[in-house]
């Protein structure tokens, strides 16, 4: 028989503390530095892990409950889309090239994030932070798997989707996102959080998500839209982790401020460079356009970013070193990128084309400072050559920036007629960069960046042929041999849209769908 005193009701915060903070302990049978070997080597000082404020207080049972519901809803829509040949409702098949960029260049990054957050989820001291990282690791696994699944329907009917992981590890333009995320995963846990949780998932996230997801909504891609909204709610948790982490580091010790500032400078710039592909996608690949890269940059980069760095000013943080140059680039980078990809379409696993007159006019209207002066004439030239049966294809391979690994087509801030070249010499070797900011990233950690696997260098060194390839054999075609190594189906995955199988099929299938 038991008369129990009425139990004190615990608040959400108290209960959550007991559910997470109380679980860990200070090891005594092994030295703490052996159990947590990576907490100090980056120079970040944390004095009081108790000051960490859990942004969301989800216990595992709540996580499973709500995520389970989200999954049910999501898969129902994806499956309905697939079963009903939903792709027939796309505006036109050019749109799919945006999704090819996504599956090739973004989905593998979700996988990297999954593994990186598993690492962070083990190696931080604070239990609350570890749990948040681990939940993020799960979320990123979710994103990887749902993206592969929702895009699998396109893989069945169109080219350029079938070998994303193989391409990601080899193909020249994909070393841009690959090197970006590997730079983060190969850094210590504090830098990893600054790079991904803060810079990528807080500062820059809208510049990735809004273009792709709105692009999907505007172009009849129900599958991607649904995935996008479902994933964004996970992103809310990720964003709050990012901002909480930055503030925690800055509040713990003033010595952390210069380290964090340098990371913010580096990761803002690396992230901005990766977004070149997104800018190009928004301005050129969406039959029904959402907004221009310039507009997206002004809203999400300048306005939102401006407000954020105002807020962080009280810790002694200033806006990222490359911010002004990024603003300068808003009128140029998407066009410069598209022009380059067009001329390299024979070795890319997606299609490009010259925009129609109506599309050229849209670009003129959105880019009054730059388009008609610097870019329209070049696109018209490409169109002329394509119509003559001699499409402009660059048979040489471009110099890549050693850090961002993008071909060196970026121009000097303030002068779009001059390519921007920078260089550094390190241990007797010369390294090339697209900007002051990539150079500065290299100069701070040269021993890291000299390791880069630059796709163009690797091709020239003969490392991009399948085993057994003989470059001395008569009639050897290096481009065909590289495409073979890439496993790009020559004539199907690559080359321009107008003569593509994608276009022929899409037009035939939709004609059939609408006719009798």
């Amino acid at each position: 028989m038991d008369t129990r005193v009425e139990k004190k009701k615990l608040s959400l915060r108290e209960r959550y503390h007991l559910m997470t903070r109380g679980l860990g302990w200070e090891p005594t049978y092994q030295p703490t530095e052996k159990v947590f070997p990576f907490t100090a080597y980056e120079g970040i000082k944390i004095h009081d892990w108790d000051k960490w404020e859990d942004p969301f207080r989800l216990t595992m049972d709540a996580y499973w409950k709500y995520q389970g519901e989200k999954e049910k809803k999501l898969y129902a829509v994806i499956d309905a889309f697939a079963q009903n040949n939903g792709f027939l409702s796309l505006t036109d098949a050019r749109y799919l090239n945006a999704i090819k960029i996504f599956i090739q260049g973004v989905t593998p990054l979700e996988y990297y994030a999954h593994r990186g957050f598993a690492f962070a989820g083990r190696h931080f001291r604070g239990e609350g932070l570890r749990v948040a990282c681990q939940m993020q690791s799960l979320d990123e696994l979710r994103h990887t798997q749902t993206e592969l699944h929702s895009i699998s329907v396109y893989n069945k009917f169109f080219n350029g989707f079938h070998n994303p992981l193989h391409w990601f590890d080899r193909v020249w333009y994909l070393s841009v996102p690959k090197s970006f995320f590997e730079d983060a995963n190969s850094s210590g846990p504090f830098e990893f959080l600054t790079a991904i949780s803060f810079s990528f998932e807080y500062v820059l996230t809208n510049l990735l998500f809004v273009p792709f997801m709105s692009g999907a909504a505007y172009n009849g891609d129900l599958s991607t839209v649904t995935f996008g909204f479902s994933a964004q709610s996970d992103e809310s948790r990720h964003m709050t982790l990012g901002i909480e982490c930055i503030k925690f580091m800055l509040e713990q010790d003033p010595d952390n401020v210069p380290i964090v500032q340098r990371w913010i400078d580096k990761w803002f710039w690396r992230g901005y460079r990766v977004l070149t592909l997104v800018g190009m996608m928004m301005d050129y690949m969406l039959p029904k356009r959402v907004m221009s890269w310039r507009e997206a940059w002004e809203i999400y980069g300048e306005q939102n970013g401006g407000a954020l760095f105002q807020d962080l000013g009280r810790y002694g943080i200033r806006e990222p070193a490359g911010f002004r140059d990024a603003c300068d680039g808003k009128d140029h980078i998407s066009h410069q990128a598209w022009l380059t990809f067009y001329t390299y379409d024979p070795v890319a696993a997606f299609h490009t084309w010259v925009p129609s007159d109506a599309e050229l006019d849209w670009l003129s209207a959105k880019y009054p400072e730059s388009f008609d002066r610097y870019y329209r004439p070049r696109l018209l030239y490409l169109r002329e050559q394509q119509a003559a049966g001699t499409p402009v294809a660059n048979k040489n391979l471009p110099l890549l920036c050693n850090v961002c690994q993008i071909p060196m087509f970026f121009t000097e801030p303030g002068d779009p007629r001059r390519i921007c070249y920078r260089e550094s010499v390190y241990e007797g070797e010369r390294y090339h960069f697209c900007s002051d900011h990539c150079k500065s990233i290299f100069d701070h950690e040269p021993e890291k960046y000299v390791q880069s696997w630059l796709p163009v260098h690797q091709i020239y060194q003969g490392n991009c042929f399948k085993p057994g390839t003989d470059p001395t054999a008569p009639g050897f075609d290096p481009i065909k041999a590289v495409l073979d190594y890439y496993e790009i189906n020559n004539g199907r995955d690559n080359l321009w849209y107008d003569n593509s199988e994608d276009r022929r099929n899409f037009e035939a299938w939709t004609a059939e769908a609408r006719g009798n």
Binding site: L12, A217, V225, S233, D311
Partner: protein, 89 residues
């Protein structure tokens, strides 16, 4: 003074949450996009469990917001009774 915002899916399930936000935050600005509702409020946005329960007539676990959430901004404070987004820490 900056806005905080919350973006929710435009579904039946989210409707009571949206109504509750509009009822308790008089300075709300609502924007509709395909499949999404965004609510901006200067400085501070509060979602009260009691208000949602008044609207639906059923008990409501505030953490359910996660199911229909798309995005948000600001610092979060949550307890069993309310969910607050604000710019002051």
């Amino acid at each position: 003074m900056s806005n905080v915002f919350i973006a929710l899916q435009d579904t039946d399930e989210a409707r009571p949450i949206i109504e509750a936000i509009l009822a308790d935050n008089p300075q709300s600005q609502l924007t509709h996009s395909p499949a999404m509702v965004k609510i901006d409020v200067p400085n501070r946005l509060v979602i009260r469990r009691e208000r949602i329960e008044e609207i639906t007539g059923l008990p409501f676990d505030l953490q359910r917001i996660h199911v229909n959430l798309i995005s948000l901004s600001g610092h979060i404070e949550e307890d069993d009774d309310q969910f607050v987004l604000s710019w002051k820490r």
